[in-house]
Amino acid sequence: MIQVAKEKPRVQTQKNRELAEFVSQFRQSRAGMVGLVLIIMFVLLSVFVVFAYPYQDVVKWNDVREWTNNPPTAPPFWVKMFSGKSLPETQVLNGSVARRYGIENIYFEDRVLDMSFTYDVPPAEVLVSIDVSFQGSSPLIELSWIKPSGTTITILRKAADRSTEGPPYAFSERLYVFIDQDVKSNMAGYMMSTYGAFVPVSSISVANVLFGEESPRVANASSIDIEKGIYQLKLHLQAYDPSDKITGFSAVVKGTVWGWMGTDVWGRDLLIGILWGTPVALLIGALTSVLSVGIGMTIGVVSGFYEGTIGEILDRTTDFFYMLPVLPLLIFVSFILRPSIWVMIPLLSVFGWPGIAKTARIITLQVKQEAYIEAARALGASNLWILVRHIAPQTLPFSFANIALLVPGYIFTEASISFLGLGDPVLPTWGKILGDAQASGATIGGYWWWVLMPGMMIFLVAISFALVGNALDRIVSPRLRRRA
């Protein structure tokens, strides 16, 4: 009894010393430490993302209708630092004050939105939202643009048509000023009446006319000087019933740059997608490699230990899985199942374990020959006891190295499947973002931020696990070799 009690702490200190040696060896590897710090940062980032951008944001991110206020394919704002020009960011204009007046049976309402614009290039788009409610006859609406110099240009003049049943009827207009055909003809009319310059409607640049310095050639010039200062957007309503009124008037002046990571072709903030990709990638990479190392280790150790029929069967099974075309089969299965990540993780590990099993088998075959196993057997230890207490622990360090080394491959594989649109249908992943980028012609359209950022995240996560894995492997492998 007493002896047993004494024995235990000594085993404990022996284990602690091995662990301490392991840790100090790992700390000597500078690359391994860099990798470890990076992984810790990614884990912290994941925790932050899940709290800072809750699940509703992911759902919102998937719904492209939520993002119409953003400029599509806008590079990140920090490109301003390299372009040498001041590039506009998105401004949302609202909060106009109604000014109502009337004569006889005609009622007017005016609203004005102010905007300071001091950038070197025109914005990507001006999106104006107008809502009017009216009783009987259609009121007339007039939208005009007042430049800092005081020049007034009529953008749109039309009768409010009835877009809902009534009365009261509701009129609602979402005007994309730069591409609207009516606006273009109005600009052509303005050029004609002000300068006598005929510009075909098809070659009119609305942005140039609205934001450029006054000149007869402004409408289709390739580069223009911007008139800087306070612009005004004025909405004028001419109604025939006292209760007719403007119920909404706002504008979004879309910038040519947007956010930290830019936007995609639907105007989505890539930052949210890229950030959310982090917990997803870490989860898939880590869980999958833990699972497949577990499967591989178990099968390898058992097949090495029971060399007879069981070993033969397991070894053949390993060989069989080793020869499978993993990615094609995964694509095939994903096409049928449309897996969420909770299906994807076991699916990936089913194909990932054979390499591990082969190595674990070789280690087991070596360890089995050693004297202390023979000693344990002589003391009457059962097979299971030897397997669990003596052989399995020997393969553990090797397992840790492999868990880290397998992660990059799994992240790549998951990215490939998501790239084809066969990944998790809800969660944004880097592969999915890159797949969208490819499908939207990001490479041939020059939307570099859409390609660079998500891929850079894949690269950084992959390399941090590779660095840690290599460092572990370097510590573990000489031990294995020494034993052999």
Binding site: A31, D319, F320, M323, L324, P325, V326, L327, P328, L329, I331, F332, V333, F335, I336, I362, L365, P408, F412, A415, S416, F419, L420, G421, L422, L434, A437, Q438, A442, T443, I444, G445, G446, W448, V451, L452, G455, I458, F459, A462, I463, A466, L467, N470
Partner: protein, 355 residues
Amino acid sequence: MSFFSYLVKRTVVLAATLILVLLATIMVAGGFGIVDRVAESAIRQDVNMMMRNNPNLARLTEAERLQIMQTLIDEQRRAAGLDKPFIERVPKYLLQALSWDFGKALYLRSSSGSSLVSDIIAEVLPRTVLLFTTGALLSALVGIALGLLMARKPLGLFDRVMTAFAVVSNSMPLWWVGMLLILLLAFTLKVLPAGGFVSVPVPSDPVAYAFDVLHHMMLPLIAVVLVSFGGWAYTVRSLLLDTFQQDFILVARAKGLSESDVMYRHALRATAPPIVTLLLLSIVGSMGGAIISEVVFNWAGMGRLFANAVSFQDVPVIIAETYVFSFLYVAVFLVLEILYGLLDPRVRTGASVQG
């Protein structure tokens, strides 16, 4: 054991593996009812076509037409064996797959207009082999040359830089590097075509055609080599350094052979079997990776066909692609075993190679 019986044994094992993979694919596709759905829709299409082209049927009433249609469909279903449970039809499907009879594609066509899946695949397969075998060979050559240089001065400056490069380049997906290279070389610098297999219109002169394909192949090749030569160099270096520890190198040095003789005639030769293994495995690996890369480079090979089949939901093509990839994998493993037997006498004599 003679080399011949070794070969026969390995071939049997690999053939069994292939059949198992095909069987598994068929069972998965069939188990989810996908095979039946496809066969059914193909029959419906055929019958529809037949009835539309038959002038005698034009005068019949709608009910009569429907009845004839149903009879014809039932007839064809019986002919195709669809009335039997799926499990009984598995051997037939297996034989079809083994004889490269993959049926008709639903939407995709070969460039000659054939809808036979085997025609479509025969058209694209050589392109994938061309690109990725060339890429694997090139990266192996560059990698072996650099690996030799690295092994000359282990832990020297060149060795350290190349090792770092190997880790970095191994952590980038090939297709992402491809996307970046398209942005850089095709979009920004405009020195290489952004994608495709040949120009449109296709050059009629065969020499011009070959050069045109080569021109389109440059960008994907650069991407493949850039991503994989670092890993190659590092592996070759490690193999050589391991070999340097062995006694026969000591003997060669003791004989007074020059360092380059030791390197090229003794060390490099001893590392040949693992290098050949790696080469073939890397070809296999790159074919899997080809799926996304071919989409990125718009390279009309097996991978892009797979991606197209997925986006068009062309099930027969998807199943056939899975089969053909399995064929390719197992074939490469067979070549590997043969070469291994030739290069390493211990293998074919049945001696242990575990060392």
